[in-house]
Every structure is written in C-alpha cells, then in structure tokens.
C-alpha cells in the first residue's frame, strides 16, 4: 500500500469552502438554511465553537449578512452562505458592505431560478446578479471554483481579497461543485498566505475611517479599539459622516471604483489551457469549465486547435486578457448554464473582432463534454 499522503481527504465542496474560510481566519458565520448551501451552516455550527468562533442562525438572509457586517466591523473575519433566493434578499446589505467598505465573504451556491426555481439542481443563472444585483455603482469581486480543492483555495483567497481591499467578496459556486465529493490534498497551513486588514498607525484624533490615499484602501480600525468613528450607508466624507457635497460624493465613488480597477492584475485570475496556438476558445467558468476541459482534449485528439479560457475570478471580468487573446482567435464559444449571460460580457470586449457563439443549457442538467465537442465541430 502507498503511504498515506498528508492532508489527503475525501471532501464535499461545501465543506472545503468552509474549511478554507476557517483556514483564512473566519471566526463568525451568520446564515439561514437554504438548499444547496445548508451544509456550510451545519458544519460551521459544529466547528466554529471549537476554534472559539461563533455561529448564529438568523431569522432570514437579510439579517444574516447584517450580522456578518456587524461582526466584521467589530474586528472578526466573517462570512455567510446562501443560494439564489437568499442571495436576492442579501442584495441590500451587499450594497451596504460596498458603500461602508466592510470586508466579508458571501458564498452563493447557485441553483435554478428565477424565484424558488430548482432548489436541488445546478445553474449558473446568478452570474450577472453577482455583478449588478444591488442598486448603485459598485465594483464586484467574485471568485468561481470548479473543484472541491478550488472551493477551499478560492474561499481562502476570497477572504484575503476582502481584507486587502475592504470590500465584500463573493464565492460563486453551484449545486454540483457544492455537493460533489473529491479526493483532495489540502495545502499545508504553513504554506498559505493569510492577509489581514490594514490597521491604522495614526492616533485616534487623526484617524479617518474612509481616508483618501494613493492606494484607495483605507486602514480599518475595529469598534472598541479607541478609534471612535461613524459608519453609514449614506454617501459619506472620509470621516464617515453623511455628505451631500458634489466633490466629496465624487471622491467617494471614485475611491470605490479605483481600489478595484487599479488592482486588476492582483485580483483577476484566468486559467488558460491549450491557448498558445488556439484559434478557437471555449469560454466557461465553474462546473462548466470541467466539461470544457474534457471537450478541449477531445478536440485536440482530432487536431482541432481549440483552447480553454476559464475565468477563476468571474468579476472583475478579464477585459485585458480577452482583448489580448482575441487577436489570435476566429471563434469564441461561451458555454454557460443559463440562457446566455456571460456571452454579453465576451461580446462587449470583443466588439466584433471574432465570431462569438453561445452554448447554453438551463434544463437543470450539466453541459456535457460531448455537447461542447459537438458545438466545436459545428462552429469551426
């Protein structure tokens, strides 16, 4: 028998997600039961107290994210997890977290919609809601795992991005990724990078909770640390006091934008396979990328020059990468489990440079490798 590999386990995606969260330092979870994310609440109800962390089941998803924001403001890394209907309810406080610049992680395990839809079936129909779900202008960060190991790694990364940029980060999963079990070898805790929010170095009387600085990210004191400041969902000045002055409003809105758009290289990750000589690309994220990876290999066995573009961060959209790679392409096939959402983003960047073709499925089943392969043969 082979010697046992350290940290090798059979693990469900939902568990890997919360294990990654705990490894990142998450010590607070507030949530509301909803299929297919419920396992995360159940696991953390048992696990967090072992780490002296806290779990609470709230009265709804609105309250859940409110409690998460409250806990984060008090200095504890915090998260919640939900699915479509709950994610819709959370939009109010996702907006609050953007405006008040509160780090927190929200997991959306996608299921079929709209409305109650298909509680136990897979979909990728929240793709655009993640970007545009709450009202107002804002810049979303969302990571999209496609395997159990990625559930672990990307949730950990979501916390790091959230702390680094003082912004909510969404982990966009789906029913299959959340519920499947895979053999994983977890990274050694000593090898992992954990980022904590930047703390102020100035004395309290100089402290500005929303300080304007060249990095666009302000240091963040927690409640009870001697920095007494105001937080509000109203548009505010650098001290956190409501403002209606046009120059202060613009400054705040630019700060929210710039802290993301000036750090795209740090935030955006794309998995590109067989793209060196490809003239056809499959563009797919999450669980669909798994079918695409197999289909690309099927096509390569038949000497079709096709590659895979898998955005690992679905938002911000990888504009720059696409601008660059589409120069070599004749065709981009966008495969997604909805009626065609991400294709709009691909076409926005594409501006007619290549053919863009849509492969969609929204009948509760996965897009299969055969389907992707047939699409390649049809379109090439």
């Amino acid at each position: 028998m082979k010697p046992p590999v350290k940290n090798q386990r059979l693990m469900q995606g939902n568990r890997a997600c919360v294990e990654g969260a705990m490894a990142a330092g998450c010590r607070f979870f507030a949530g509301y039961p909803i299929t297919p994310s419920t396992e995360m609440a159940e696991i953390l109800a048992a696990e967090l107290p072992k780490l002296s962390g806290k779990f609470i089941q709230m009265e709804d998803e609105i309250a859940s994210l409110a409690a998460v924001i409250g806990s984060s403001v008090a200095g504890v890394k915090s998260m919640t997890a939900t699915s479509g209907p709950g994610f819709s309810l959370m939009q109010e406080h996702i907006g609050y977290a953007y405006m008040a610049e509160v780090p927190c992680v929200i997991v959306d395990v996608q299921r079929g919609g709209p409305s109650t839809g298909l509680p136990t079936k897979v979909a990728q129909a929240d793709t655009m809601q993640v970007r545009w779900g709450t009202h107002g202008d804002y810049y979303a960060i969302a990571v999209a795992p496609s395997s159990v190991l990625e559930c672990y790694e990307f949730t950990l990364r979501a916390f790091n991005l959230s702390e680094k940029y003082r912004t909510p980060v969404i982990v966009l999963m789906d029913e299959v990724v959340g519920h499947m079990r895979e053999r994983v070898i977890l990274p050694d805790p000593d090898q992992m990078t954990i980022i904590d929010r930047m703390k102020p170095t100035v004395p309290p009387e100089w402290y500005q909770h929303f300080e304007i600085n060249p990095h666009f990210v302000s240091p963040m004191a927690s409640f009870g640390e001697g920095y007494r400041y105001n937080i509000t969902g109203l548009t505010h000045d650098p001290f956190g006091f409501p403002t209606e002055k046009p120059e202060e409003i613009k400054q705040k809105m630019d700060k929210l934008k710039n802290k993301i758009t000036h750090n795209l290289d740090d935030i955006i990750q794309v998995r590109a396979e067989f793209m060196e000589d490809a003239n056809i690309a499959i563009f797919a994220y999450g669980i669909v990328a798994r079918a695409a990876r197999e289909a690309v290999r099927m096509a390569r066995e038949r000497r079709i020059k096709v590659g895979l573009i898998q955005p690992l961060t679905i938002w911000p959209f990888p504009d720059q990468y696409m601008e660059h790679i589409q120069e070599q392409l004749d065709l981009i096939i966008v495969a997604e489990l909805n009626q065609g959402q991400l294709i709009g983003e691909v076409m926005r960047v594409n501006r007619g440079k290549t053919r863009v073709s849509s492969l969609t499925r929204y009948d509760s089943e996965l897009i299969t490798p055969d389907q992707v392969f047939e699409k390649i043969r049809e379109e090439k």
Binding site: M1, K2, Q8, T120, E182, R297, L366
Partner: protein
C-alpha cells in the same frame, strides 16, 4: 483492476453508479467507496449524488468517477458499473450502462433482468440472515464490487469503514465486506442472461 476505458479525450475513466431506494444506504455506500478509492488507494475520484424529490420517494443513487488521472467532467457519461438494489433503479439506470459494463443486482429484489450478463446476489437476504440486519446489504454489495472488479482495494474499504461506520456497528460492517468477498469466491452469484430466464 478491470480493463479501464479511455475516453475520447484520451483520459482514463471508470464510472460507477450505486442505485436503490431511499433508505438502502446508497449515498453512504458511495461515500465509503469514494473515500476508499481516493484516500486509501490514492486515485482520483469524484462522487456526486442524485438529490431532490427523487431521493425521498423513488430511487436514490450515488455516482462515482474513478481515474488515475485528474478528472475533468465530474459526472458519469457511460457507466462501467451499475449496482441496482431495486427493480425500479435497475429499470431506470440500466440504459446508462455501457455495452460491456458490469451489472450487479440484488437478485432477491430485482427479478426482471435485462437481456445481458448480470451478476445477481441476494444482498439483502444475506445481510439479514448472516448479520442480523438488512441495513448492511449496501456494504456487502461493496465487498462484492471490490472482489469482482478490483476497482477498490479490500483493505481500503476496511480502513474507511473502521473510521466511518456508525459507532458500535464497525464490526458488523467489516464482516459485511468479508461476506461480500465470500459470495464471489464461492461463486454464489447467479451469472445469468435473462434470455435463459432467471434461475
């Protein structure tokens, strides 16, 4: 190990479905098998399950994809092995089995067999008679799967059951694996083709 097919992507891949009705422990058996294959035998494995209204009323199933290489598509496309513990699950899932795939049924419960080679064992009856409860029929079936196909090691199954079986039932579960092996060794299987009738 049984001959492993190559997919059209050139990937090695073996696909298993354990099916029955809710309460027959198909999801638990799938987890045990996946952990034995993945953690003990050190192969890539991906396990998914049917989930939803179907799992409560009619059929319940657990699917595994096993490979020595990284698994891309996580769900079965053409089954290499189907375990059917009820007539209904056999009827529903048999068409998903590839032409020369292995069909194993609980022959006490599945009497209408498809027109092909079938391994039949009376898992439920044997579990009740030899271990005092039909609850471990699923584990007896895992023993026979291991013995027949070598897709999972016997030692791997035993190790996983030692830590995963509900407290107080470990010994019974380990015996269930041995009984599963015994069934194959003593050729107690009714290897039948349905055109000759169910014996």
């Amino acid at each position: 190990m049984e001959r492993i097919k190559k997919t059209r992507a050139g990937q090695e891949r073996y696909e298993v479905r354990l099916s029955g009705s809710g309460g027959q422990g198909m999801v638990f058996a799938g987890m045990i098998l996946a952990e034995a294959v993945g953690v003990e035998d050190g192969k890539y494995v991906c396990q998914t399950q049917s989930y939803g209204p179907e799992a409560r009323g009619g059929t319940s199933r657990s699917d595994l994809v096993i490979s020595s290489q990284e698994i891309f598509y996580p769900k079965p496309q053409e089954l290499d092995l189907l375990l059917a513990m009820t007539q209904e699950s056999c009827d529903i899932y048999f068409p998903a089995l590839r032409e020369n795939g292995t069909l194993i049924v609980d022959s006490g419960l599945v009497t209408q067999l498809p027109d092909r080679k079938v391994y039949g064992f009376t898992f439920t009856r044997i579990a009740r008679e030899q271990l005092g409860t039909p609850m471990v029929a699923n584990i007896v079936a895992l023993g026979t799967i291991s013995a027949l196909t070598k897709i999972v090691s016997r030692q791997g199954l035993l190790e996983v059951l030692k830590r995963r079986a509900p407290r107080g039932t470990e010994e019974r579960n380990l015996q269930a694996i041995e009984i599963g092996y015994e069934l194959v060794r003593k050729k107690k299987a009714k290897v039948v083709k349905s055109d000759t009738g169910v014996g």
